[in-house]
Subunit: 203 residues, 2 copies
DNA sequence: CGTGGTCTTGACCATTTGGTCAAAAAGAAA
DNA sequence: TTTCTTTTTGACCAAATGGTCAAGACCACG
């Protein structure tokens, strides 16, 4: 097992610097489009210096994605079976939308990875992700069985939340192009999605 | 203006061959990840031969995207003001979902382009796309004013259709990973989305 | 046939890019 | 200061990649 040696202060700082720069570049250019030079420049380090902190471009990418999946699932984890079903789900939508607002780069990085067949995170997909989603789908199913929620397929309900919220981060350029420069997509989306899910979830 | 010379039969055939191969490779690997060698191999041509039909990698990509935007908007164009509002919109959803089933590569290619900021189709976005969407949004608004549709924001309604339907093509790997191998995502989606929009659109 | 255009390709090239290395420049510890 | 470790970098390298070119193969048609 990896006997993770404690990182020095400089290592701590510079690894974070690299990861942030890499997030910026990877999310903008994709894995293949991102160059080590570009990441190094963005991080304010020389290329060899960058490779002193990470052994390879791929390693940076993997590190980034691994940290991501967890954060990504947090809002779903917070779904509480003991709460009010409709309010719990609407709150989930709001949390996801908030992530599109606060972490668009992360959302796009993740989206690009999935669109390309998730070559670097298959593991996390079929295990961690599926496990959690199945568990929460069961919660939703129980709510429905108790008549507290409309009987729509729980898995697809979750997909719909993902797609509707992430759309505003991943396809931001398109949304802005269509709405024009004077409208605020995310604020409007919040109201729209609240209406949508209120109508969808009522028993 | 481009005095488009008539293409020979061989040109016709091989250009189509190249475009199909390019669609396959671009949609799988992204623009930067796709190599001319890979496209040539997929097309069954030599690299110089490929470049005999298209002057550059970028030109192939652009040709592909231009042909795409139109096809992409067809289902929306078909939205008919004189039809039944709810049925028209549900039919639009079905058509878009059908495209996710029939043309997932096209969907993914388009998605990747947008996620990366649409560097190669900005023109089409702020003109063609916006124009058409604004027009159809007006149609929806009139339907709503007549009390034939729930008063939800027309633009976001259209976004929701895009995101929900394209999700099944663009994030197919994720959807399959979560649903497991025995479920058919698209068939289930059709039923789910029909329910969703029935509930959302009722006045 | 032959001839003029179309199509195809092997060899080649310049640039980009991921990654290495040895040696210099900081730090830390004494 | 001295010494030992950690950081930093300029110079390089090999492979990959987009693209060129001249010459040959193929083809239509008078």
């Amino acid at each position: 097992m990896a006997t993770t040696k404690p990182l020095t202060r400089i290592q701590e700082k510079n690894r974070a610097l690299v990861l942030d720069a890499a997030l910026e570049v990877f999310s903008r250019e994709g894995f293949r489009g991102a160059t080590l030079d570009a990441i190094a420049r963005e991080a304010g380090l020389s290329k060899p210096n960058l490779l002193y902190y990470f052994p390879s471009k791929e390693e940076i990418h993997i590190t980034l994605l691994e940290g991501l999946v967890d954060t990504w699932l947090d809002p779903l984890r917070a779904l509480d079976e003991d709460g009010d079903p409709q309010e719990e789900l609407r709150a989930y939508v709001r949390r996801k939308l908030q992530m599109s607002r606060d972490f668009p780069r992360e959302s796009r990085l993740f989206a690009q990875e999935i669109v390309q067949g998730a070559p670097r995170i298959e593991r996390g997909l079929s295990t961690d992700l599926k496990t959690l989603v199945d568990a929460k789908a069961s919660v939703i199913a129980r709510w429905q069985k108790a008549g507290r929620l409309a009987p729509v397929d729980p898995h697809h309900l979750i997909f719909s939340i993902w797609s509707l919220t992430q759309h505003y981060a991943d396809f931001e350029v398109q949304v802005r192009a269509v709405l024009g420069p004077d409208r605020d997509p995310l604020t409007e989306a919040e109201a729209f999605l609240d209406t949508l899910f209120t109508r969808l979830l009522a028993p």
